[in-house]
């Protein structure tokens, strides 16, 4: 018996500050106990749907609302955020930012405190919920001592104390490493089974969410529901690709090989995927045809020798690390949170100073160079562009480093224009930065580093929080830079990025280099994936399914994917 719990009827919403409505005539019913995945590009309106459900719209973000949205039979606009929060529990994207308590117990209790729950009852409820998300050993810990995945568990416990009917997850995978993301999806699945609640996941990482079954996928595009179907049905169609959503890797591989995906083949889960004998054969032939190992004979550009580093003299963060960066390569640094990736980058650019060891650039030690001197040779682009932009006009922002180096204004102008052209921002050169989108701001920060003509450019999570379309845009742009000779180093959690774009990768585990080599090797080696909190890609399973060597098959995929991409250029 289906009992609707959420009903959108001809629902339209326009934010106050915007001309066009963000949601247009939404008709959508979600039933009690269902597990639904909402996908869509950034700006498609998928997060706005979430905000309508938890009441941030219209109570915090005002605007024009028409049509009807009922939750448990009541119009949301007649309720309030506190009332809605008893029905809809929201776990926000940024697990750190939403941690309002000074320790785990306090954060889980936050909602109970606001409800004036008496102390002993509160303690009981907190312990119970902490157990449910497996955090009862951490009640006294401060958020600074927790990992991203643990903070997310705490956030989940914090909404579960309210005994909500609906759990809403806004991009739950955004800040997690691959293995932790997988655990998070498992946890959501398990919580739904124990509590019987309705679960809504807003996410654009389709394949990762589908690791555990969902009942329906709803595709939002330009404020409308363009698809609402069971996963198998949706994945058999082309609509996801058309709307800029990345399909699972194994399906891309099948499609590359010319296999026609049908609903009956159960395309939504790799383990259930049905391939006929001829399909398997086709896939094998395709893989063999693309089996060329890329030959990379690049010169060494930078060498880190026996680097050691610790923040407090007690806990070693970087432990005897020796590695190199080759001239003209695209290198990925991967590993779980806290493995020392960012610290290693900080040592390279001189933000932190190594306790022991040496860094050689082109054979010369740069240990004694100041931050600025290094900045001209090794540039770093931070993850959050808002932390870098310090001028109001685009031109000034890009010119900033050059002007600080007292370079002649005529040359500044030439170099800034050149950098802006490379980054596709030349038309905007006289614009204020505030008029740009997030992705464009990111490009401004890249331009502001590029203009210094560094020998190596380091990017910290260049695609974090970006949907597939923007991801492709940024990465294709970086690839173009790389083809022009720029050496690029990326710190990333994104395994697709590493597979599809990088020549080599460094895997850090507990401050040491665990593996250095080709990306196709990393994700098929159980030892490495386990140690570094990564996860095997679905290409691994697909390779086994057709009795092929996973590493070779992955390499075939990488080769095919890259040549496809370059054809369309």
């Amino acid at each position: 018996m289906k009992e609707p719990i959420i009903e959108f009827k001809d629902f339209t919403f326009r934010y106050e500050a915007q001309k066009q409505p963000t949601l247009k005539h939404i008709d959508l019913t979600i039933n009690k106990g269902e597990k639904v995945l909402i996908v869509g590009l950034s700006g498609s309106g998928k997060s706005t749907i979430g905000n309508c459900l938890n009441g941030l719209i219209p109570f915090v973000y005002g605007g024009d609302m028409s049509g009807s949205l009922k939750i448990k039979g009541r119009e949301t606009r007649e309720l309030s955020i506190p009332e809605l929060s008893k029905t809809v529990g929201t776990v926000l994207q940024d697990a750190d930012g939403q941690f309002v308590g000074l320790n785990v117990g306090e954060d889980i209790a936050f909602s109970l405190e606001n409800d004036n729950v008496e102390l002993s009852a509160m303690k009981k409820a907190v312990t119970k919920m902490a157990k449910l998300v497996d955090m009862e050993a951490y009640l006294e810990q401060s958020p600074l001592e927790l990992s991203g995945g643990q903070k997310q568990r705490v956030a989940l416990a914090g909404v579960l104390v309210d005994d909500v009917d609906i759990l809403l997850f806004d991009e739950p995978l955004a800040n997690l490493d691959p293995a932790t993301g997988k655990t998070a999806i498992d946890l959501i699945d398990q919580i739904q089974k124990t509590t019987g609640s309705t679960v809504i996941i807003i996410e654009h990482r389709l394949e990762d969410v589908l690791y555990r079954p969902v009942d329906r996928i709803i595709l939002i595009d330009e404020g409308r529901v363009v698809a609402d179907a069971a996963p198998d049905q949706l994945l058999a169609s082309d609509i996801l690709i058309q709307k800029g959503i990345r399909e699972p890797l194994y399906l891309s591989a099948c499609k590359f090989a010319g296999i026609n995906i049908k609903e009956q083949m159960h395309p939504s889960v790799i383990t259930a995927l049905q391939l006929s004998v001829s399909d398997k054969d086709r896939l094998r032939r395709w893989a063999i045809a693309h089996q060329v190992n890329p030959a990379l004979h690049l010169k060494e550009l930078l060498k880190g020798e026996k680097l050691h580093f610790s923040y407090d003299g007690k806990k070693t963060i970087i432990n005897d690390v020796t590695f190199m960066i080759k001239s003209g390569e695209m290198l990925a640094i991967i590993g779980k949170n806290g493995a020392g990736k960012s610290t290693l980058a900080k040592l390279l650019v001189g933000f932190e100073k190594e306790d022991q060891g040496d860094i050689l650039l082109g054979g010369r030690s740069i240990k004694e160079d100041s931050i600025f001197e290094r900045g001209q040779k090794i540039g770093i682009v931070l993850q959050n562009p808002n932390q870098m932009i310090c001028n109001t006009m685009i031109f000034d922002e890009v010119a900033y480093g050059l002007r600080n180096a007292k370079i002649d204004e005529k040359e500044v102008k030439e170099r800034v224009y050149e950098a802006l052209k490379i980054c596709g921002l030349y038309e905007f050169r006289n614009w204020p930065i505030s008029a740009l989108s997030y992705g464009q701001k990111k490009r401004v920060t890249i331009a502001s580093i590029l203009v210094m003509k560094p020998q190596i450019m380091i990017l910290d999570e260049p695609t974090a929080g970006q949907d597939y379309r923007h991801y492709t845009e940024i990465m294709d742009f970086l690839e173009k830079l790389n083809k022009g000779g720029q050496t690029i180093v990326m710190i990333t959690h994104d395994m697709h990025l590493m597979l599809e774009y990088c020549d080599r990768c460094l895997t850090l585990v507990d401050g040491q280099i665990y593996f250095e080599g080709m990306p196709s090797k990393v994700l098929v080696d159980e030892k490495i994936t386990l140690k570094a909190n990564l996860k095997k890609t679905s290409l691994y399973d697909l390779a086994l399914m057709i009795d092929m060597e996973p590493e070779a098959f992955t390499q075939s995929y990488i080769n095919a994917e890259r040549s496809m991409r370059h054809e369309t250029d």
């Binding site: 109570f59 308590g101 306090e106 729950v117 102390l119 914090g158 933000f351 900045g375 932390q387 480093g401």
Partner: protein, 278 residues
Amino acid sequence: MKQTKLFSYEDKDTIIHRLSGLTKLICFLLLTFAAMFTYDIRVLALLTLFSLFIARISQLSFRRYRIVIIYLVVFMLFNFILNFIFAPNYGVELFGTRHELFTFTTGYVLTVEQLFYQLCKIVKYISIMPLGLLFFATIEPSEFASSLNGIKVPYKACTVFSLALRYFPDIQRDYTNISLAQQARGVDTSKKASLKNRIRNNAKILLPLIFSTLDRVELITNAMELRGYGKYKQRTWYSRRPLMRNDYLAIALCVLIFIAVLVMRFAVTKSMFYNPFI
């Protein structure tokens, strides 16, 4: 990134640590006020002994607070000298007698009265100092907000306080990142740059810091709203420890001390100072 501790809370298990935060706050206020009401050196000396005794049983490690203590001592010495320079005869005015010890120049005569007055002042600082250290060393940060609310400070003000504690390290980390990224692009905030440039360059860091902090604030406000913050006029506190027998005893003791000091001040000596010269 290491945690920057605004409060150097020491997690120990002593009878003092086990008291509720509310008790600690009330006792701290009572004793501090008691010390403020008097300059009577006998009373202050007793208070000092008492607070040193408490510091002892709470296993307060003075060595950990060496830097703070050095600061305070330097401050007191400075204060001591300035006091003499600006008002060398205040002691004489206060106590009404004049026992000269040593003449620097005309107008600057060291008297026993002046020395005694300044001694009283120093003892007063010394009596309060261990209490302050003790308070911050034994109160858990999360308990502090709930304790403030316990003495009727509005809870929204208390939350602001506890949020400040929660997010201060994050904002500090943002600041470091921004500042380093700017140095990499040639911004010099070190002493090598001229003062004007340093001010201008520091102002440049503010813009990105403000933007990233505003993002944070929006997120926190939403997260709090979504969990029902501000729904009622009252709220309870998870971190509050219920008052036990020892709490009542401690508060009673401090109230007694407070009253005793007041009695000494207004009924026995009837003056701010104890005057040994008459």
